[in-house]
């Protein structure tokens, strides 16, 4: 697999890091190489959080995401801060938080994660698993679904059934999408 860059950003408490961990763990179980840099503000909740993920078929040199193939924008400020990095990639934004620019250069895809999980599962905390499912769909030829399930069950301590459901909702939301 060629080097692929993924940027995930939102605010503290949304599970941005957990989402990155689960995605990356699945990639590692697939036999791929993965790096993830995490940066965040000092607040426990509410501050900005960013995961920079690189996956590739061979060991990765620079772990810096400079030109994301996928950018999961899970908050308005994350979208504003990082959207200009995306030139050839795809921005997956949650319209519950983000109002996209009028004439964007990059490809935009609305992922209504928050509203869907609130509607289906009653809580917005499962939105990250919905995003995970969406990424799972985009990477379905590179990473087997079972590896996402395995990583999810290892990295999520509570509400495993709900998180798995949220993953499935996300996975089927973009049925047919491909990396």
């Amino acid at each position: 697999m060629k080097r692929t860059e993924i940027l995930i950003s939102g605010f503290g408490g949304q599970g941005v890091v957990r989402l990155g961990q689960i995605f990356s763990t699945a990639a590692v179980y697939e036999g791929l190489y993965t790096t993830m840099l995490v940066s965040h503000g000092t607040e426990t909740r509410g501050g900005y959080v960013r995961s920079q993920i690189v996956i590739a078929g061979q060991p990765i040199d620079s772990p810096v995401v400079e030109n994301p193939d996928y950018f999961c924008a899970m908050s308005k400020s994350a979208y504003t801060k990082f959207m200009s990095l995306v030139t050839a990639g795809t921005i997956l934004y949650d319209p519950g938080y983000v109002e996209p620019e009028r004439n964007p250069i990059a490809r935009h895809v609305a992922i209504p994660a928050r509203d869907r999980v609130v509607q289906e599962l009653g809580k917005d905390i499962f939105a990250n698993s919905f995003f995970l499912g969406v990424l799972g769909q985009y990477f379905k030829t590179a990473i087997h679904k079972e590896h996402f399930y395995q990583a999810l069950s290892e990295r999520v301590a509570k509400f495993q059934a709900e998180n798995r459901q949220a993953f499935d909702f996300g996975y089927s939301y973009q049925e047919g999408a491909d990396a």
Partner: protein
């Protein structure tokens, strides 16, 4: 092979357990806290001891005590704690006590910002204590996998050289998540080149030979020793002395056991240096990964660019810098530290330049542009006020 996705902190923990560490004393600090946390969980599983120290000064003293009791020991911290090691580090150097010290560098000045990477302790790791008259051994991993391997190596060198070894990591290495392979079979261990030295015991009567020998077993108290260990000048038998003749022998030993065995320590990586490149990047730790990508990107654009990545930084491998070129030191600080050693080591007539960033890694694009600028004979652009020419 165990295949994990984990942090550098987890890798360092598993490496210590692999190397036979049986004592960890430490004080939590970002971005090294998880080492202490993981060790508190892992050590009891292997019959070891975890001590939560009241501060870093105590932490390293406790490790020294444990090592003198026959246990392999480790502590970990970041810059603000590393400076507090100054006193016990000297004890360990002077009394030749094996111990492993991890410093996950964060950005300064002084205590700086907790969760952002820096490289401010390059020189402090050369002189981590007072008095001079010694050489230091410092290893600098640039990935989670290498944090595992170099921590194992640090334990190995600590035993062979009978001294404290610093693993000089940075926040990107310790807090960063990455594929981590942990060998399980003998064949996998050998393939990774991992070596483990068992703790030996020195039964005397000579505990401090006036030679440059390595592989001299360390003092383990209670084995014919009395209390043959202090930070004063020792006689060969380990008694304190005020005699200059012994001071000379002691200093000679601390300096030359390292200098005369550098081939065991020295490790570096070279990228695309075969055709005498115009520009050579120099880096250690996490910036070296961006450098490696940048060398490749620059080559794809037809620029004659190479790179040197230091794996062991002290003793400084002067011999690597024998090519005349324009050198560009890429570091996570604004004051320029590695660049000074590069300037000292390069052949006369070489240019030496500096590119410093703080808090996050530079980008590949920036480095390629910097190389192009230097090849065109122009000065690098300052972001704000930095001094570029060295």
């Amino acid at each position: 092979m165990k295949r994990l996705f984990d942090t550098g902190n987890a890798a360092i923990t598993e490496a210590a357990i692999f190397a036979g560490c049986k004592l960890f004393a430490g004080y939590p600090i970002t971005p090294a806290t998880e080492i202490a946390e993981n060790m508190s969980r892992r050590l009891p599983q292997v019959g070891g001891f975890y001590v939560q120290a009241e501060d870093e000064l105590a932490a390293l003293h406790i490790c020294i005590g444990g090592s003198l009791g026959g246990l392999k020991a480790m502590t970990s911290t970041s810059g603000p704690g590393y400076i507090l090691f100054a006193d016990p580090y000297g004890w360990a150097l002077g009394s030749e006590i094996p111990v492993v010290v991890v410093n996950a560098q964060r950005v300064g000045p002084v205590s700086g910002i907790t969760g952002a990477p820096g490289q401010g302790e390059f020189y402090l790791s050369r002189y981590p204590t007072h008095g001079g008259n010694f050489e230091s051994i410092v290893l600098a991993p640039n990935s989670v996998q290498e944090a595992f391997q170099l921590t194992v190596e640090a334990f190995y060198l600590a035993e062979r050289f009978r001294m404290p070894i610093t693993v000089l990591a940075d926040q990107i290495v310790t807090d960063g998540w990455e594929t981590l392979l942990i060998p399980e079979t003998e064949a996998e261990i050998q393939a990774m080149g991992l070596k483990v030295a068992l703790r030996q015991i020195n039964y005397g009567p000579e505990f401090y030979p006036a030679t440059d020998e390595i592989d001299v077993p360390p003092v383990v108290l209670g084995h014919n020793t009395g209390a043959a260990c202090s930070d004063w000048t020792p006689t060969a038998e380990g008694f304190d002395t005020e005699e200059v003749e012994w001071q000379h022998k002691h200093a000679y030993r601390l300096i030359y056991k390292v200098r005369n065995n550098r081939s065991i320590i020295s490790q570096y990586e070279e990228f695309a240096l075969e055709d005498e490149p115009d520009v050579i990047f120099v880096a250690y730790g996490s910036p070296s990964r961006v450098v490696k990508s940048a060398v490749q990107a620059a080559r794809e654009q037809g620029l004659k660019v190479g790179g040197i990545r230091l794996v062991s930084i002290w003793p400084f491998p002067d011999e690597v810098f024998h090519r005349s070129a324009k050198y560009l030191s890429v570091e996570l600080n604004y004051d320029g530290q590695l660049v000074r050693e590069v300037q000292r080591a390069v052949p006369k007539g070489s240019e030496v330049h500096f590119l410093g960033r703080c808090g996050e890694l530079p980008k590949v694009l920036e480095l390629v542009e910097a190389a192009r600028t230097l090849i065109n004979g122009q000065p690098l652009k300052a972001i704000k006020w930095e001094r570029e020419a060295w």
